[in-house]
């Protein structure tokens, strides 16, 4: 270091300051920190500790000149006797006590070591340990350069961490959006499937079956409400309009009960079919349904027969 002149010192400072240009990712900052600490500033061993987001401990994350598995993996930054964030530790083998932080195995004959806090304001982001074995001590000017390095690393690290955090949030947001889109897509697919199913059910609930080319059979089964009665009307009249049958058999064998409104609608449907030129034959009317229809006091001008067989026979006769 005795040969290091002011111009070279400034050049080294420039190179150290350039770390702030490397806002890529945490790994790059770690590599650069250790590269500058060793190749540029001459440490034979360098270990970088960083705080994790989950706790306040310092975790060894990268090392040069020694395997990471050989150094203390975790350091507690504040102990009753030492606060690693408070000051730069300068130590040489001349001290009567060992380096206050047990980073390396005790048998390592370190000649001099530095412990440099990497902090922004009062928050400790990390801690850099550097050691030499071939020389007796770090030159005081180099100690200052390490301090500048730590300062540059801290500002770069802070920005990089914030950037990584923002990127992480963006990723999470993008993932949430994707999940939402997938959920919406699934809902839409379910809706489409349900619509198709409903359509199928509706189609099945009002089957209109051609009997030969002159008659249609509309078998009604189950409970009929106003909505279904409307559908029966629409479907049946559409079929009559398209196929022009002479006769439509409305088979009510499967209808156990009918409310007056619905009965009225069905009678209206039958009359409408007549207007379209088709005779309506109602069959299979149960006594209870017959009571409802009679109670309507409506003009019952439709043909009724007892069962489907009779209705078929009648329909064939009218061909």
């Amino acid at each position: 270091m005795s040969q290091l002149n002011r111009e070279s010192e400034l050049a080294i400072l420039y190179e150290i300051a350039s770390i702030s240009r490397h806002l890529r990712d945490r790994e790059t900052i770690q590599d650069l920190t250790l590269e500058k600490a060793t190749r540029l500033l001459g440490a034979e061993i360098a270990v970088l500790y960083l705080t994790a987001t989950s706790d306040t401990q310092l975790h060894a994350c990268a090392a040069r000149g020694i395997r990471l598995k050989k150094v203390s993996s975790v350091l507690v930054p504040v102990s009753p006797t030492l606060n690693l964030g408070q000051q730069l530790l300068v130590w040489t083998a001349c001290h009567s006590t060992p380096f206050p932080v047990p980073v390396l195995p005790a048998e390592y004959p370190v000649q001099a070591a530095l412990g440099i806090p990497i902090k922004r304001g009062t928050s400790l982001l990390g801690w850099l340990y550097v050691a030499i074995l071939k020389r007796a001590a770090f030159d005081p000017r180099v100690v200052v350069l390490y301090d500048v390095l730590a300062d540059q690393v801290s500002s770069t690290l802070e920005t990089t961490l914030a950037w990584e955090q923002a990127r992480q949030q963006q990723l999470m947001l993008a993932e949430a959006n994707q999940r939402l889109e997938q959920a919406l897509s699934a809902v839409h697919e379910a809706y489409v499937r349900q619509e198709q199913l409903l359509q199928t059910i509706q189609d099945l609930s009002v089957p209109v079956l051609p009997i030969g080319d002159q008659a249609l059979l509309v078998p009604l089964i189950g409970y009929i409400d106003s909505q279904r009665a409307q559908q029966i009307q629409t479907t049946m009249l559409a079929a009559v309009g398209q196929q022009h049958p002479r006769c439509v058999i409305l088979d009510m064998t499967g209808v156990a009960l009918l409310d007056p409104t619905v009965a009225q609608m069905l009678l209206a449907t039958a009359r409408s079919a007549r207007l379209l030129g088709a005779q309506v034959i109602v069959c299979g009317v149960t006594p209870r349904v017959a009571e409802v229809i009679i109670a309507l006091d409506s003009d019952l001008t439709i043909t009724t027969v007892s069962d489907l067989r009779a209705a078929m026979r009648l329909a064939l006769l009218r061909r």
Binding site: M1, S8, I12, E15, S18, R39, G42, R64, G65
Partner: protein
């Protein structure tokens, strides 16, 4: 215990004969002792498999490590063509070897793998013995990957196992090169020999280049390519620093041998990088990784500064032995230093030998990059001389 060493070389045109003669010369100094390691350097003129057969005809299955080089440094002088060998033995000397391919495509994994194969052989810190690793890499395909590989090996071996070695090459034809471990011969690979002994080992590293002129800032670069200096195309700026020279894309490589670039380091030494190639887009390709957004200088050297550096490297290595006599010396010298040294090329080796001992068995290579630690961590160097000495006891 005493470490014994012997070196030999041959310029025989027949590869087998050259290998056999070099090995015989190395073994002769060991008398009846069995070698425990043979270090072999060759030049591109030989069929390496045949040369190794010749060597192993003499040494048998003794562990062997080495590579093809840009030239040989031997007790017989500098050889542009030949085979050189250094044999080592010692009661407490232990040797383990490993070779791993794919240096250029997966440098971190290749380096980790090759080092982990030897990790269990490292001397424990509590032991009076210590380990040193010889490291050789492909300097033609792996120049970009070298820094990555070296730092991974150094991290696994730790600071108590110094690395010394270099990048294999050819006679500046930049075609292909080979690494040897025992009978295996591979290109694009990394080879390690772990030596463990109680004998001290000293290493010295110097280049002798000094900065000239005003500094420039690398404002745009990637890996080993400089795109912009001071915000302008790199080649344009480099050219402007030599207004009286006719610097073209064609003569760029030859010109930059005399004018590498350097980066100030806190240890006081400059990290030197050799610009190898200029591209039509104005970019400059260097040997080895470049620090981004760093201040660089054009470096200048002359025969005197390079010779002084070689002496300093040898002295540094010898100082580390603390008075222990030298058993053997290994020299890793950049292949682009002789063009500047010119007629004084041989002086560089003579100066080194004068310090490590002219009778000391010696082997050396002209390399495409040098690997060693100065006072700081191990680095990949350019245009540098590395001297390693092994103590006798």
């Amino acid at each position: 215990m005493t470490i014994l060493a012997g070196s030999g070389s041959s310029q025989h045109t027949d590869a087998y004969q050259a290998g056999q003669e070099a090995a015989a010369g190395a073994l002769a100094a060991l008398a009846s002792h069995t070698p425990q390691l043979v270090i072999v350097f060759t030049t591109e003129h030989y069929d390496h498999a045949t040369a190794l057969q010749g060597i192993r005809a003499s040494t048998g299955t003794v562990p062997l490590i080495g590579c093809c080089t840009g030239g040989l440094i031997t007790a017989q002088g500098i050889l542009e063509r030949g085979v050189a060998a250094l044999a080592l033995c010692g009661d407490d000397l232990e040797v383990a070897l490993a070779l791993e391919p794919d240096l250029s495509t997966r440098p971190a994994q290749a380096a980790q793998s090759v080092a982990e194969q030897l990790e269990d052989y490292l001397a424990p810190l509590s032991s009076p013995r210590h380990s040193t690793a010889l490291i050789f890499t492909d300097g033609l395909t792996g120049a970009l990957a070298m820094d990555t590989a070296i730092h991974h090996v150094a991290t696994i071996f730790g600071p108590f196992c110094p690395l010394i070695g270099g990048a294999a090459g050819d006679n500046l034809q930049y075609h292909q090169t080979s690494l040897f471990v025992n009978e295996r011969i591979l290109g694009d690979s990394i080879a390690l020999a772990l030596l463990t002994t109680a004998a001290p080992i000293g290493i010295g590293v110097r280049h002798g280049w000094q900065p000239i002129g005003q500094p420039c800032v690398i404002t745009r670069s990637m890996a080993n390519v400089i795109y912009e200096l001071d915000g302008r195309p790199a080649l344009e700026v480099y050219r402007s620093l030599f207004p009286h020279s006719e610097l073209t894309l064609e003569n760029f490589r030859e010109f930059t041998r005399y004018h590498p670039i350097g980066f100030p380091q806190a240890t006081g030494e400059f990290l030197v990088r050799l610009p190898m190639q200029a591209n039509a887009d104005g970019s400059i390709v260097c040997v080895g990784m470049l620090p981004e957004y760093a201040v660089m200088y054009i470096m200048q050297g002359d025969p005197v500064s390079l010779l002084t550096a070689a002496e300093a490297a040898a002295q540094q290595a010898m100082t580390a032995l603390q008075g222990v006599p030298v058993a053997a010396a290994i020299v890793i010298d950049c292949v682009t230093r002789p063009p500047l040294l010119g007629t004084r090329t041989a002086d560089e080796i003579d100066h080194i030998r004068a310090i490590v001992g002219v009778e000391t068995p010696i082997i050396g290579m002209y390399s495409f990059g040098e690997i060693a630690a100065d006072t700081g961590p191990v680095c990949f160097h350019n245009k540098t001389v590395v001297v390693g000495v092994i103590g006798k006891h």
